[in-house]
Symmetry: C3
């Protein structure tokens, strides 16, 4: 999937952004990325020992971090020491991406230009932003809104009343009516009487063969991306928070919720109304029973159920569940 | 409620669909129905011993089934033995109903024709498919989409941003803003890298006096129908999966979820955020506490709460719940 | 926030409404309000000993109540004794406010009049009812519907596909795509075969700096109002039922549900998918873990988790939750 810049960026010299620091090169065109995605020239952030292993291997040139954990960063990475990493990151993002902290409605929307889309069918009142791409044999239902720079692959079926922004979508994807994809997630620095809204500059990447049922909300990544893996199916009213990465061939039943930044493996089955807390790892081939509350990591091939989720066998034993009477 | 064919059907001779079988009459106009609804000339399917009692009484002429359970079918029913009943059924449905496996947006939508609807009021930008029926004194709010062949009774109040497809609705029904009714449910045969989408050819039947609050999703039946009984009320954000049948005079609070094919009796009360697993029977006059997870059948008149749901008295005792401090 | 009458009112003399009662002044322009909001000349209702303390202090001139609890009302308040307070109240409201028992779509909607809105930006196909107010520098996204008499403050960002009715909103409020605000809640008197719909004449008050994420439903108050306090943030798919009052500086994560009439303090944090039962009090600075089911009042500064919710320490001990393995 090709890279797209969804958010307007201001070029500001790094010496102006961090006046107390000294920089060898006073760059302004650096990108801000998560530890594992940052490369040479990029700025990253490291705020919790939990991400020690990613810090050790980062290739970022600059890193916002705390004095207490800076030693895990490579020597090539210049540390910018702050008190509150996430607050400083939020303020930095707001300076560089002034329009990423709120979902400002796209005011460039227009009806699809004739002759521009090859073999694409549009319902009534479809609205497209600038530079939207839609692959051949795709259909977009009535009243749907595809905001600027979104890319939709071939043979995709998008329902009615759908809103898609900040998203790159593969081919053969089905999105049912009323889904909202690529919106800003629930991210802010709590401040009395006026929270500081955390700009979210990430995207949503939806891989080939994905199916997303009606009324789902999939928020874009904060600094990295939110990702739905190939051939993964989501049922109605599923909530996927920012930065969540779901593997391929997963089946996620209705009303499941994922808090921010959790990583779900491949071939994972999740029953209806289950919830997965934030910043967790769920392994491959995991099965999670309906209604479960997952509050810690789950290793590959485990089957869990309960609130909090425990191995299914234990859950059945604890609750003396028998077959139907 | 009259029968309507929502999905385009291909007529294929049964000898071509099942070339290894021998048939007395090489019919092509048979219908595919669940065990209990199939009549003479219809094809049905029987894949689990759980439905033994329905199998014993079926009137179907043909039945897809497994060798291991075929003996429960009446001698008049011709068994078509397969390895994987649901997969063969899905492939059969895809051949006969090629457009029922995805919610292809209705591209026949138009503004309501003047003079066609007697005493019906429409908001702005309402879109109707071909052959939509709306009874007198009904109102349909702005931006709502009623797809082809949907039938709405007299005195119905449909809100704004509502999408209704594959649905037959009685009279005096209220549907609040943003409901999505009649969409394809979560049904597919899991296959690595490319699931096989199960065509859903059923409808949603909504009886008189029903009220459905904002943001609900009610999926259509797979082979049979999804049914909401008379005078049953659903609160906001309820999810009703395919084939669920809810009786009359029920009260279903906000964010409740029903997995596929469960049958709920009459006068059932369900508290907010409760979940009912698939293929269960919940009796008449049952009360289910908020947040409960129902994982087995519940007999008439029982009161349950908990995850998994247990008799309310036990739940209170186990949890030592006292009155407000 | 200024008072607005969202519902058409019929003036009926109180002697006609209650022919068996004697009244000193045969008024017809009285208002119907909750115990704590009713003033001189108003009619209120008192149906449960739970609200004894509010009854003792009410300033209402008239009160629908039961013989068994009437002694808690001040002597200046004229008691109107009935068998079923809520049913009589519902019938009274239906006579005075005949159009508040169903969300009749606003059929007065029009595109925004040019020159009428100062420094307001509108997306495509925005529809406004009569007498809608939108403050300067606000933006309203495409396909959104703002029904009659709604008031939106300055610098508000309203997304696309949003529906707002019966609502007064302060400044700097963000409402993401697809929210439904001010709809009628889940209120009715259960009657076999035809429930009696309870007219809901309250509003939704949204204070300054509030942010409400995608797909939330916030129902209006029944007789009083539903209130979201200053700088409170709601994540995606939250359900706020009628009469709920949420304090300021709260953080409510995704898919949380509030049943009717609960009162939530300030600085409250609620994790994803938690549910709060109806008619409860949750104190200031309370933290409620994700997935919890709150079934009784919670005092200030408490931290709870579980279903039913118990002190977090107990929950951890009971469930032997350890740090990540």
């Amino acid at each position: 999937m090709k890279k797209v810049n969804f958010f307007k960026k201001k070029l500001i010299k790094i010496s102006i952004l961090f006046p107390k620091e000294k920089f060898e090169n006073d760059v302004s065109n650096f990108n801000i990325k998560p530890l594992e995605e940052a490369g040479f020239g990029d700025l990253t952030f490291f705020d919790s020992i939990k991400y020690k292993n990613l810090a050790l291997k980062t290739k970022a040139s600059y890193c916002l971090t705390k004095d207490r954990i800076k030693q895990f960063l490579p020597s090539k990475t210049k540390c910018i020491i702050v008190e509150n990493v996430l607050f400083e990151l939020a303020k930095l993002l707001k300076k560089i991406y002034p329009y990423a902290d709120i979902d400002y409605p796209d005011l460039s929307l227009k009806k699809p230009a004739k002759n521009k889309f090859n073999k694409v069918k549009f319902g009534n009142n479809v609205l497209l932003g600038k530079n939207v791409k839609v692959g051949k044999n795709s259909i977009i239902g009535s009243n749907s809104i595809i905001e600027q720079n979104v890319s939709i692959g071939d043979n995709c079926i998008i329902g009615s009343n759908v809103i898609i922004k900040n998203t790159i979508m593969g081919k053969n994807v089905v999105i049912q009516d009323n889904c909202k994809i690529g919106l800003k997630g629930f991210g802010f620095i709590p401040l009395k009487d006026k929270n500081f809204k955390f700009p979210h500059i990430g995207s949503v990447l939806i891989n080939d063969e994905v199916e997303i049922a009606s009324g789902c909300t999939i928020d874009r990544g904060s600094v990295g991306n939110t990702i739905i893996g190939k051939n993964t199916y989501l049922d109605n009213q599923v909530h996927v928070a920012h930065n969540v990465k779901i593997g391929s061939n997963c089946m996620i039943a209705g009303q499941v919720g994922f808090a921010g930044s959790s990583i779900i493996g491949n071939n994972v089955l999740i029953g209806g109304q289950a919830g997965v807390s934030g910043h967790l790892n769920v392994g491959d081939n995991v099965k999670i029973g309906g209604g479960s509350g997952v509050v810690k990591n789950i290793k590959d091939n485990h089957v869990v159920m309960g609130y909090p989720a425990i191995p299914l066998k234990e859950f059945i034993k604890n609750n003396k569940i028998k077959n139907d009477e």
